[in-house]
Each structure stands twice: as structure tokens, then as C-alpha cells.
């Protein structure tokens, strides 16, 4: 789903080429950053193991598309087509993500973490199967086309990418503020307590399963919203765009590289892994031919390697989680950069 969006790298030589590429790149990063923040709520804060991110992106994207598209025309068959405003579609996408999280969470959140992982990866597979197979639901493998753009009628097509970039960056900022607010609240402290030691949290009188569910649903809603943003950005979605590799594993890599358990880490990870991934095509032409053709597979290999390497040697990621103490305590005043320096200087030991 990710590949489609970036301009062909040959234009890069010129300044306007750099500009073109950057606008597309940062728009992508903003949307993926929102997804990573959603995963950070689930995994980073609560330890809920979601391997089916693709499923949440998919329901968000499809719900929003079906709410905003016109009714199905000739040679198409899909439900709804209500022609509602795009903003309603976004909200619908978020709601769909939340509902999906609730439905998956009901039977599985009480179980051990790896069972939840299996259930969520299975949900992504089943949704792809249904979308591909079910006649008259979402136009099957042909996908949905011509998904309307947010404010697309008011802006010149040539300037639209700026509107898009601004929209996505504002959305990322809003989601960032939202997750920061909720995780700094007492509710967020309970989540971390559950993640670190569920038995202790229970002993302290917290019903941990409802908290896990709330966190899973909030993360699901954020992912659904990001999926909706994505759908209106690309204009065309098909079931196979939401693969496990790009829809799920890519996001995990971003969170692990950035550092799970803090929001800045999630965004930094998205930027770093995203630049690595989308930047690879830029250097492809300068590589020897044999390497050039294999570069996309090598890049995939490197993504797997990044995850394993970070888990082994830098388990806290580039921006380690801040110790959850009072913000008036001395260490809390250190900036993320300070902590990064301390880490590179060999300050903190890996847990």
C-alpha cells in the first residue's frame, strides 16, 4: 500500500524534485506516524500484542470510503455509497477501528499475549479473504476507486498536495496531543502498571482486563482513523494493499526502532524507518546493476534485521521511554536528545 505514493525518483535531481519527493514523503510519514502512535498505546503502554494492524487500517479505510463514495455505478458493486463529507468518513473509520478492536478483544484479551497475536494476524487474513471474495460488499479485488479528497473541490489540483500534507501533519499533531494527554493521566499510569506487572496492578485493585480493552479500543480507533486518512489520500484501495508485511510488520519495526512506550519515539521511529524504506529507491540508480535489481528484496531483509538487531542490542529504541516518575523529579527535565546522548555515551544499560 505504501509504494504507490511516492513520485518516481528520477525527478529528484532538481530542487523541485526534492520538494515533490519530500511533500509525498512527509505526508506518508504523518499518516504512518498516527498508526505507530496507535500501536504505541496498545503495545508500548499496555503490552497488548496486536499483530493485525493491517486489519484496523483496512476497516478504517473501507468504512470511510464507503461512507463518502457515491452509490455504486455500473460494473461496480459495493454497499452504502452515502456521499457524506470526508470528515464524517474519518470519524466512521475511527469508529470502525474501535468496534473491530472490541470484537477481537472480547474473546482474546483475557488470554495470553501470543494467542492475541495469532488471533489478530488471523483477523487481518480473514478480512482480506472476505473483501476479496464477498460479492456486492466492497467490490471484491477490483477495489474502490475515486474516493473523494478532503476539501478537494476547493483547491486547485496542482496545489492539493500541500493541503494534503497540512491535513495529515495537523492530524498527527492532534493525535499526538491526544495520546500524550491520556497517557499522562491516571488512566495512563494504570496502563503502564498493567504492562509492567499485571498481578501487581490487580493487587492494587485495578480490573486489568477492562483497562486492556480500553487501550486496545483506543489504539484501534486511532489506527482506523489513519486508515481512513490513507484511503482519502490515495483515492484507490484494494484488499491486497493491506498486507501483513506493510500493514503490520512495517509499523512494528517503526515502533521498535523508535522506542516503544513513548510517543516521541513512535514518531521518530516512523521517520527513521520511513526514510530508510522510501529513501532506498533514491540511491537505486547509483548502485551496480546486479545489486540494483535486488535492492527491494534487500530492503525487506534489512527491515527484518532492524527489528532483530534492535531487540537484541537496543531494546529501548532510539528514544528510550522516560522513567514514569513525577515530572518534577530532576531526570524528567532532560530532553529526548539528552537521553539519546546519555545512551550513546553508554549511560543506561539495556534492560
Amino acid at each position: 500500500m505504501i509504494e504507490a505514493l511516492l513520485p518516481v525518483p528520477t525527478f529528484l535531481v532538481s530542487l523541485s524534485g526534492v520538494m515533490n519527493w519530500s511533500v509525498g514523503f512527509f505526508t506518508t510519514i504523518a499518516i504512518l506516524g498516527i498508526v505507530t502512535l496507535g500501536l504505541n498505546i496498545q503495545w508500548g503502554y499496555t503490552g497488548v500484542f496486536n499483530f493485525g494492524i493491517a486489519a484496523f487500517l483496512m476497516v478504517g479505510a473501507y468504512t470511510s470510503a464507503l461512507l463518502t463514495l457515491p452509490p455504486a455505478g455500473d460494473f461496480q458493486s459495493y454497499q452504502l455509497g452515502l456521499q457524506l463529507p470526508v470528515v464524517v468518513g474519518w470519524l466512521g473509520g475511527a469508529a470502525a477501528g474501535a468496534v473491530l478492536a472490541f470484537l477481537i478483544g472480547m474473546p482474546t484479551l483475557r488470554l495470553r499475549g501470543d494467542f492475541l497475536a495469532i488471533a489478530t494476524i488471523g483477523m487481518a487474513a480473514i478480512l482480506r479473504t472476505v473483501a476479496n471474495t464477498s460479492e456486492g460488499l466492497v467490490n471484491r479485488a477490483r477495489g474502490l476507486n475515486g474516493i473523494p479528497r478532503f476539501m478537494g473541490d476547493y483547491v486547485e489540483p496542482s496545489d492539493y498536495r500541500w493541503v494534503l500534507l497540512a491535513t495529515c501533519v495537523v492530524a498527527l499533531a492532534l493525535v499526538y496531543l491526544l495520546v500524550r494527554a491520556v497517557t499522562q493521566s491516571p488512566w495512563g499510569r494504570v496502563l503502564r502498571a498493567i504492562r509492567d506487572n499485571e498481578a501487581t496492578a490487580q493487587a492494587a485493585g485495578k480490573a486489568t482486563v477492562p483497562y486492556r480493552m480500553q487501550s486496545f479500543v483506543l489504539g484501534g480507533a486511532i489506527m482506523g482513523f489513519a486508515g481512513a486518512l490513507w484511503a482519502h489520500r490515495v483515492g484507490t484501495i484494494a484488499p491486497d494493499s493491506f498486507s501483513d508485511l506493510f500493514g503490520t510488520f512495517f509499523i512494528w519495526t517503526m515502533l521498535i526502532v523508535g522506542g516503544s512506550g513513548n510517543h516521541l519515539g513512535a514518531v521518530v521511529g516512523t521517520l527513521v524507518v520511513g526514510f530508510f524504506w522510501f529513501g532506498t529507491p533514491l540511491i537505486q540508480e547509483d548502485l551496480p546493476k546486479a545489486l540494483g535489481t535486488q535492492v527491494f528484496v534487500l530492503r525487506q531483509f534489512a527491515i527484518g534485521l532492524l527489528v532483530v538487531a534492535f531487540i537484541l542490542w537496543l531494546p529501548k529504541g532510539l528514544v528510550p521511554e522516560q522513567a514514569p516518575v513525577s515530572r518534577f523529579a530532576p531526570t524528567a527535565h532532560r530532553s529526548a536528545l539528552d537521553r539519546l546522548r546519555a545512551r550513546l555515551g553508554g549511560g543506561e544499560s539495556a534492560a
Binding site: 503490552g47 500484542f49 499483530f51 474473546p107 482474546t108 488470554l111 499475549g113 501470543d114 494467542f115 497475536a117 495469532i118 488471533a119 494476524i121 488471523g122 483477523m123 487474513a125 480473514i126 479473504t129 472476505v130 476479496n132 471474495t133 501483513d244 508485511l245 510488520f249 512494528w252 519495526t253 521498535i256 535486488q294 528484496v297 534487500l298 525487506q300 531483509f301 527491515i303 527484518g304 534485521l305 532492524l306 527489528v307 532483530v308 531487540i311 537484541l312 531494546p315
Partner: protein, 299 residues
């Protein structure tokens, strides 16, 4: 009725492949204590290793089968190869995490990283285009009651039985098997009883790798080899493992049969496109009703 019986036969064949893989997956799950998401891609590695060897040997078909005797050494090399790869990954990745006392979830994430790497390597070496062990058609035998079964499919079911018996003998008639069962039940107790649990873990990876390699080869014999073919089996295998109860190889084998048969027979009532969703539905029902598995211990 014939239609049902025919689907049942196909279901047993699919179930054999799923069950073979699930036996290894559940052994590793029970002894290593984490869900190994790289198991599906190890299956792909097995089928391609056998392909590499088989195509270098004299590949004439034997009797009614589509592959020849050269598949025997090819499969043995694939079994050893996948076992070695799995054991070396354990040495370089999972062992460090174990020593550090990492959560099983961390290892599961690492295993997904390993899965992506293995798949990329397979794509690098063998390319993205599907290949086959042998060309030509495998003429089906007609069994009593008008059932039809291809010789290759008979081979698959026989391989499943042979390996299940072999695994039984290994687990219950050898010291290694006894030590493996002890490690699975209680690793700490096994450790202080003088069992070298690290050696047991290495042996477990070798065995799980060998089993999944056979599953890969058996799948390859009746289908085409593609770099993501094994990953498609990951969910059915997990469904079989959970149906049978984690750590129970016979449960996994039975679970594999349930998955394979229900998947095929379901096409009597639902469109064929949905059949891949059937194992997952089974899995979900199982997680709600009886998460310890069909044959799991009480409580």
C-alpha cells in the same frame, strides 16, 4: 455422498501437511515457550532447499509419482538444512533473549523479524516466480466408491504417518525424548535435574525444522513453490496447535486433520473462496470455548 467423501480425502491430504508442520510448531512452542512466527517461512525454505538439490540430481519421475527417488536425498538435505538454520537462529537470537529473561512476546516479535529475513533470502536466491519440482500431470488413481486420489497425495499421507510414528518413538522411547518432555513440562526442574536444557532446545529446533521441511516438500510435490507459500500455512498451523493444546504433538496432528478436513468439506456449503477463513473461525471458537485445546489438561 461421494462428493463429501472426495472432499474428505482431499481434507486428509491438506490436514497431513498442516499436521506435519504443526507437530514441529507445537514442540517448539512447548519447549521454547513462544509462538514462532518464522515457522511458515521455514517451511518455504524447506521446499526450496529440496528444490535446489532435486533439480541438480537426476529428476526422472518414479512409477506413478510425479517425483523420483532423487527426492529422498533432496528431502533429507532439506530437513537437515532447515533444522540447522533454525538451531543457528536460536543460538544467535533467541538464546540471548532467553538469557536476558525476555518476555515470550519479545521473542515472538523477533521471530517475525526472522521470518521476514528468511523470506527475503528465499526471494533473493530463487526469485519471485513460482517453480515446480516436476512438470507433467500426476494421473489420479480411482479408489473404491469412485473416489479419486493422486499417487502424490497418497505419498503425503504416508509421510505424515511415518513421521508421526517416528516422533512418537523419539519422544517416548529415547532419553532425548524424555528430556524434551521434561523440559517442556518444567524447564527449571529439568535444569536442576541435570538435563542440559540448552542442548534440548537445540535438538528441538532441529526436529521442528526437519518436520516443517517435510511439510514444505510435501506441499511442493502437489503444488507450486513460491516464496510466500509457507507463510500461508502459518495460520492453519497455529489453529492446529491451539486446537490440539500447546505442546502436544498428537493434538497438533489431530488439530491439523480437523483444520484440513473442515476447510475442504466446508466448500459443500460455502463458496470456495471462504475456505481459507475456516481454520481461523475454528481457532476463534476454540479460544473462546476451550483455550487449552481439545486434549489440553484441565484448569
Amino acid at each position: 455422498m461421494t462428493e463429501f467423501a472426495q472432499l474428505l480425502v482431499v481434507g486428509v491430504v491438506v490436514g497431513s501437511i498442516v499436521g506435519l508442520g504443526a507437530m514441529g510448531l507445537t514442540l517448539a512452542f512447548g519447549i521454547l515457550k513462544f509462538a514462532n512466527f518464522a515457522h511458515g517461512d521455514m517451511m518455504t525454505l524447506g521446499m526450496f532447499l529440496a528444490y535446489a538439490v532435486y533439480t541438480r540430481l537426476d529428476g526422472t519421475a518414479m512409477g506413478p509419482f510425479s517425483v523420483g527417488l532423487a527426492m529422498v536425498p533432496a528431502m533429507l538435505i532439506a530437513m537437515a538444512g532447515v533444522g540447522l538454520v533454525a538451531a543457528s537462529v536460536d543460538q544467535t537470537v533467541y538464546r540471548r533473549l532467553r538469557r536476558r529473561g525476555s518476555a515470550s512476546i519479545t521473542m515472538a516479535i523477533a521471530s517475525l523479524g526472522v521470518a521476514i529475513m528468511v523470506r527475503a533470502v528465499i526471494q533473493l536466491i530463487w526469485g519471485p516466480t513460482p517453480v515446480r519440482y516436476a512438470t507433467g500431470i500426476n494421473v489420479a488413481w480411482t479408489l473404491p466408491f469412485g473416489l479419486r486420489m493422486r499417487p502424490d497425495q497418497v505419498l503425503i499421507v504416508i509421510a505424515m504417518f511415518a513421521l508421526a510414528v517416528g516422533l512418537y518413538l523419539l519422544l517416548f522411547k529415547t532419553r532425548l525424548g524424555k528430556a524434551m518432555r521434561a523440559t517442556s513440562d518444567n524447564p527449571a526442574l529439568a535444569d536442576i535435574s541435570g538435563i542440559d536444557t540448552e542442548r534440548i532446545r537445540a535438538a528441538t529446533w532441529m526436529i521442528a525444522g526437519a518436520l516443517i521441511a517435510v511439510a514444505g516438500v510435501m506441499f511442493g510435490v502437489q503444488s507450486q513453490l513460491k516464496f510466500d507459500a509457507g507463510f500461508e500455512f502459518l495460520l492453519p498451523m497455529f489453529a492446529a496447535v491451539i486446537l490440539g493444546g500447546v505442546g502436544n504433538p498428537w493434538g497438533a496432528l489431530a488439530g491439523g486433520m480437523v483444520v484440513g478436513i473442515s476447510q475442504e468439506v466446508s466448500t459443500l456449503w460455502i463458496p470456495t473462496g471462504y475456505k481459507t477463513a475456516v481454520p481461523f473461525v475454528l481457532l476463534t471458537v476454540m479460544l473462546i470455548v476451550r483455550p487449552r485445546g481439545l486434549f489440553g489438561p484441565k484448569g
